[in-house]
Symmetry: C2
Subunit: 220 residues, 2 copies
DNA sequence: TTAAATAACTGACCAGAGGTCATTACAAGC
DNA sequence: GCTTGTAATGACCTCTGGTCAGTTATTTAA
């Protein structure tokens, strides 16, 4: 391959190279998913050799953690853009769910964050990632409070809880594809009854109602 | 090792051998967790050679799926035993949460079920596992209805929803250990605020209230 | 009792994974 | 043009899940 690739000497060039790798990683991730993802293939896609990847990322999981952080920021912007004054609880929940799922990387990475990705990552990267998370959550909570007519504290609790519910609900439809397979009616019925969208929206509404009913403005 | 291991010829002997492997697997799983689990080590623990494992399980994930099914049954018995007439919503939620967490294998396997384990398993095993799940859920729902004073349909929806919430909530405290690490106060505060038990119980209660408020006895 | 048939079991082997590091070669400074 | 720092390389490592031709304990039939 005569890609004529120049060496990255300055900080700017290195950041650019790093982002090139991340773009290739995102591409591979959307194509083959988490389990099918390999560093050898990433190297090929990014037009570098495997060893080079490890100049820019300490481990495979550091790549994923960076992708996650980027997808979180990306999604939060999309979501904040779609918030309007005085939405119904249901509209709010539906918007949150739909925008989150529309981002191809966000949910799959979020569901693997804590029990896989964070376990092979440097403490500095972890702290940086958590700080990014705090910032996004705070920002979303601040925008949510007026929309749903909640106090700041209520809004913060709500946003955090929505994250938990999102992980739980989206888990249920990440099973294998089963296309072309013969599935018995009872099993198919079970799978259908766990369709994540209605589960998320219904329970999000219940939780919003519950939080609104807690009219204690005290901390926690 | 001169374990004098006999060959398993009859079905009974084969079932016994299979369970021996599963017991060793459970032991290894509780010791090293999902990511540290290896088939080579399982073979050593079970006192057989690696190839033999594949006479009893098609893939590594078939081992995990079987462990999951066993842990689900085990937990459901413990939980059902602890149900009493007329518990408060909070007691019910707390019992569910506590018993689930007390089983060392159940939660870690449940959180990896759909996006990892089920993706490398035969369709027959998957169907069998789903059937087992249906049976346990139905059984728990039937026992739950009188306890929380719900209709059968409400109870069924509740139990399914509790599963979703359990996955979401337990995800939040499966991060890396961070013992002996210096964690900044803001990040530590975030981690503390995601402690899974209060999140689960609070929102379980909100959801139970919400379901109880839906006094439509119509299907779905 | 013994020979033949069966299949549980073995362990060397494979491809591919994540990760390392001595070496190479390119760009900047004198 | 030469020296020097370092980005980039690619051969190499260990480990993984998984395979399979061959071995041998056990059952069956003569």
């Amino acid at each position: 391959m005569s890609t004529e690739r120049k060496r990255a000497r300055t900080q700017d060039q290195k950041h650019f190279r790093r982002q090139q790798i991340l773009d290739a990683a995102e591409q591979q991730f959307t194509e083959v998913g988490y389990e099918g993802f390999s560093m050898a293939n990433l190297a090929k896609l990014a037009g570098v050799v495997k060893g080079t990847l490890y100049l820019y990322f300490k481990t495979r999981e550091e790549v994923f953690l960076t992708l996650y952080n980027q997808s979180l920021v990306r999604w939060s912007h999309v979501f904040l853009d779609q918030l309007q004054d005085a939405m119904t609880d249901q509209d709010y929940a539906k918007t949150l769910y739909t925008t989150a799922l529309a981002d191809g990387s966000f949910i799959p990475l979020l569901t693997r964050l804590e029990h896989v990705i964070e376990h092979n990552v440097s403490v500095e990267s972890l702290i940086q990632s958590k700080r990014n998370f705090i910032e996004r959550v705070d920002c979303i909570a601040q925008a949510t409070a007026p929309v749903l007519n909640l106090s700041q504290a209520q809004s913060l609790e709500l946003v955090k809880t929505m994250g938990v519910l999102l992980v739980g609900a989206s888990n249920t439809d990440q099973g294998p594809s089963l296309e072309g397979e013969t599935i018995p009616a009872d099993v198919q019925g079970l799978i259908d009854s766990f369709s994540s969208e209605p589960i998320f929206i219904k329970n999000a509404c219940r939780i919003i109602s519950g939080i609104r009913a807690d009219h204690s403005a005290t901390g926690e």
